[in-house]
Symmetry: D2
Subunit: 371 residues, 4 copies
């Protein structure tokens, strides 16, 4: 086994097969996709990439296997699945999904495709059928990686905390891992890990509030989405190009296309639009967001973007098993169940515009949305 | 200014007057009172003392003063108050309070006495009237030290996390301090610090669940309380002796008195009673806990102790000030307000007895309390 | 003052003038220049940039000013100088210097030019003459930033440790800063800081051994230098382009030029040359390294690159002031003076070639250099 | 396996047999012996005990076994040996050795006795012959625990750093452990771990300079030694009592004996003697230190103590194995070999006396020792 030094977990062991996969261009490309897209414009340290995160997720999934008594080929396959779980991300990962999603499909589906038909698949085939790695959403292997207390989230929370300098993501990984159990195809938590899991779930929520949904990050992302949308709509860029290039390359490309250049340029120079008005993201007029943007733009005589919250911040839920049987985490913990209401309250849509139009847009948007 | 190296905050600056106070026997005694009493029997690293904590609290109170624009003599006085805020603790601090409280009064009152009439007071008098330091509960100086987001709690949470190795107490002190404000004699938090404060309050709650109210710690404490009660009742120890000695000295003393020796001995050898039954701490029969212990003891034919929860784990509350005025933290945060219900659910009373009687006591206690 | 959250130092305060400079394209470009160039190919977390490092250096320089009693305009100017000290770096910073140095000059000179005539200069001029910031190598302001115990090195050591996960760079910044003194235009260290400084200097040396001069990093860098040299020699790239673009953009450019493409491509796919032979970097035949490469290449019938050590790892030296006067750190510390011999022993030149030619090159190079 | 949470290593697993041994009074007594004796009087956080350190040493020894491929009974025995390696320490451990050594023998011999004939031995006997654990100095099991890069030193360095807040002891345990090898009954280091080992050895040296040999700590220790010497000489205390009590109990005892009371009292009130003169610890007149103290005392008309350096700070040495065979660490590393000279330079003897006599003693001691 080779060893790689990781800033978060220390030494990470890698098998020869894994190393071969890591050295494919497809996987090396993850070095050029930042874990947190444009967040580095607010938290300058947040320049870490999907590459490190993928190694870290494999490392944690492997530790969970050890605790669950999963070894041999099964463990090898879970390690590969974890290693490759983000292979399908487009440049800017989640932040470009809004603009590209309808065209390209989810990153899960794209990743599946890349594993089945790409370089990674050829290497996997030396030992397994690629389908065994790429498919099986919802199975135990998948849950162990992707559930609330799975390898993916534990890795990114701790990693994002390390690179942003925001402490909420510091979690007791060791404790959680040692209280994970499995049975009947499900992942559950033993009661003894309740506090550790509460800490993880609340930490994740606070990272959403402070980092992932930071107002300026959301504005930058909304401008990026507009840039991507324009570039694709005008034929300047093919959506597929986002699947083979990295963040910076695509940002430079966007800066070279007339329809997207002003936005890309503004992002690079940190000349962000300003928040002019805030409203509930469930407001009925936001069902057709594009129309609201157009109408408001006409009314105000300036460019308008409306930023929606992206991924949900609340936990999906899992079972907690105590002496008297199992119950949902939402039942077991008032703290965790309070996250549902807390998220609802903090979600919103942001109406943004160039700085000089801010006051007028503020006034007119209020009127527009109360009509 | 002299400088002391602290394991939690790094360098702590100390004025000559403060140094003089620190070097009094009254203050040096705090080196012999562990911050977490018997918790080290479960978390072996938890051997830190009220001495370090007092320096740390002064250090943080000083930083809060800087942010609030409090300088000069006012700041000097707040530093002294913070330095001396735990001077009145009896040996085993909170853990002996249950047994001694009715006799000796609160540690706040004892501390006031020590400052007014003790060695510290003589030194303070070189510069201030000791009353200015000892009195004034409820004023701004006091709140800045003792409120939910004050210097005392921030220090002990971070310190307890460092020495126990339990991560929940890791908090973003810097962020909280920089969003503390004052006005009208009150401490409040600016909206921008909400996530940091949520993290602190929930971290404190999780520390309660995992550390401060750890079952074994509660059993050890209950046995200690019984030992103290017996020793004092039998005339073997004068309650005041707890005010001049440290933890270890008193434990050795308790081991030498016939009425308390079995308990003290058991604590030293980690032969703890076992939990036989758990019930709501609000059960009406617990209003006279002593009687319940006696009756159950007679029924079961063995020694019985009932351990009650000690200090409350929920926040006291404070104001959060945003653009649209101020609101209570309980209104501002679903997370924080969920702590009230969560605490209620996790509080309980523990019926404990020697290991060999466990099963029988379990059965009989259930019957006794449902009568 | 605005506040930026840094992963290494926590909150960093920034004045409005500084913020204006930071938001210029010239400065934002530093976000696209990695602090450790290609090191991330070995230590995947090492993706941090000159941008964060520049903020951190300003932050530490500011703290040193506070200790030295430097305030007002003088401090403002030192902060600006620290902020801008890396503005002149070409893409890949030190790693491209070997190829570009003779053509472009040092990054210090380029930085001076950028400050005097660029966007930063225009903003500085609101308050100071840009010459006051750009010039004055060797003065106190410069030493405070650049000497062995200055802001630049302290920042990068701690930062590189944080992002690589290699612990040797963890240093007691607080202690060093509080024992820095100044007098007669010189920076010196008080005797009380000797251990902290020894730890820093040795930590830096160990970082050289483990990270900065890691064999694979050196091979990647040598291949990069060859790529740059070829691209420039063939007219495919103008050297000045390295002054306006970032690392990734230039790597993509190099991959598009026939003469440099094989090297750039190999770097991106981690198909590195292998070390075939190691010799003293002082070997007389290395005085004309280009000729040795050519001759060996002809002899072996394959491409050959010889990698030289880049920047020196030993300290430059400074004064330590004790009760009995001042002495050089090399006199004051056997540990530090041992670094000179230790470095000499560990420096070497690496003869590298494609993997398949390794054995033959190994044999032939040994013969060639002993001729 | 039970699990204990350690502040330094996280979770430490403990077998039922080990738990039984840990719960004996002999082992629990280690909770009352501070790892760094009186160092907490200078570094207030340094209140950690031999108890935690013993658990930590077992934990690391176990990890080294895993790397060396030592399992089964052999590993179990090494774990026990590591767990019990400090069982023989008298109260104040190394700091009382100077006074008690000639009478009681080394802590190794006492520990052997306790294992063979004490409570631990009875429990061990369930599974092994106690001799297998207690004896065998110089064997591989012993080296793995006690050599320069062994479990004992790695644990105490990291632990002392954690509790004092002094960073020099932060080491890359993971790296060292993974480069430890064994062969021919010897422990050696692979070349790839050289930097990690250099960092450990130099870190240890810097901890000596800053913490273990801190001037005030040495003065406090010398006063303690005098107190112990007087108490034993006067018959007030039997030396054996130091083998069954803890630090604080013995300090209180010393304060109650006329001949030792002034010293014990001064320690508790931090009224330390002052350093009046410093000389080489190799000065021939120090061969009979007691006589020098007496004579100087008579000359100066006040109490005099001369403090000698205690344990050596330099490494003992071990083999480093590279491609071209093995060599001593002193040959392999200029840094490490410089430690020998560096230590020689920093070692000294301190002449100390009451504060008010300092100037006179300073003058007269200079004359006395140059006679």
């Amino acid at each position: 086994m080779a060893v790689v030094r990781d800033a978060v977990h220390g030494n990470i062991a890698i098998s020869p097969l894994e190393e071969e996969i890591i050295d494919t261009p497809d996987f090396q490309r993850l070095r050029r996709i930042k874990q947190l897209a444009l967040t580095y414009l607010v938290y300058p340290g947040a320049v870490h990439t999907r590459f490190e995160h993928s190694l870290g997720t494999m490392h944690l999934a492997s530790s969970i296997c050890d605790v669950l008594g999963i070894g041999g080929e099964e463990k090898e396959k879970i390690r590969l699945r974890a290693l490759l779980h983000d292979l399908g991300h487009a440049a800017f990962s989640h932040e470009s999904e809004y603009a590209l999603h309808g065209i390209l499909g989810t990153h899960e589906r794209i990743g599946e495709e890349k594993i089945l038909r790409g370089e990674a698949g050829d290497i996997i085939r030396e030992r397994f059928r690629p389908e065994e790695i790429a498919r099986g959403r919802g199975g135990l292997a998948d849950k162990l990686i992707s559930c609330d207390i799975g390898a993916d989230r534990m890795d990114y929370l701790k990693r994002d905390a390390h690179y942003t300098g925001v402490a909420y993501g510091i979690i007791d990984i060791d404790r959680i891992i040692h209280t994970i159990g499995s049975g009947g195809g499900e992942i559950f938590l033993e009661r003894g890990g309740l506090e550790a899991a509460e800490s993880l779930l609340i930490g994740r929520f606070l990272m959403f509030s402070s980092v992932y949904m930071h107002k300026t990050v959301r504005i930058a992302s909304a401008m990026l989405n507009r840039a991507i949308g324009n570039a694709v709509a005008s034929g300047g860029l093919a959506p597929e190009e986002f699947l083979s290039a990295g963040d910076e390359e695509m940002l430079l490309r966007l800066a070279g296309i007339r329809e997207s250049a002003p936005y890309a340029d503004a992002i690079m120079k940190r000349r962000f639009y300003k928040q002019a008005f805030v409203l509930s993201d469930l407001h009925p007029m936001l069902e057709d967001k594009g129309r609201a943007e157009e109408e408001l733009s006409r009314i105000c005589g300036c460019d308008i973007i409306i930023g929606m919250p992206n991924v949900p911040a609340h936990p999906d839920g899992f079972l907690v098993r105590g002496r008297d049987g199992a119950e949902s985490i939402f039942e077991a913990s008032e703290l965790v169940s309070s996250l549902l209401a807390a998220e609802e309250r903090r979600r919103n849509a942001i109406v943004m515009c160039p700085e000089k139009n801010r006051e007028e847009v503020s006034r007119r948007a209020e009127k527009y949305f109360s009509s």
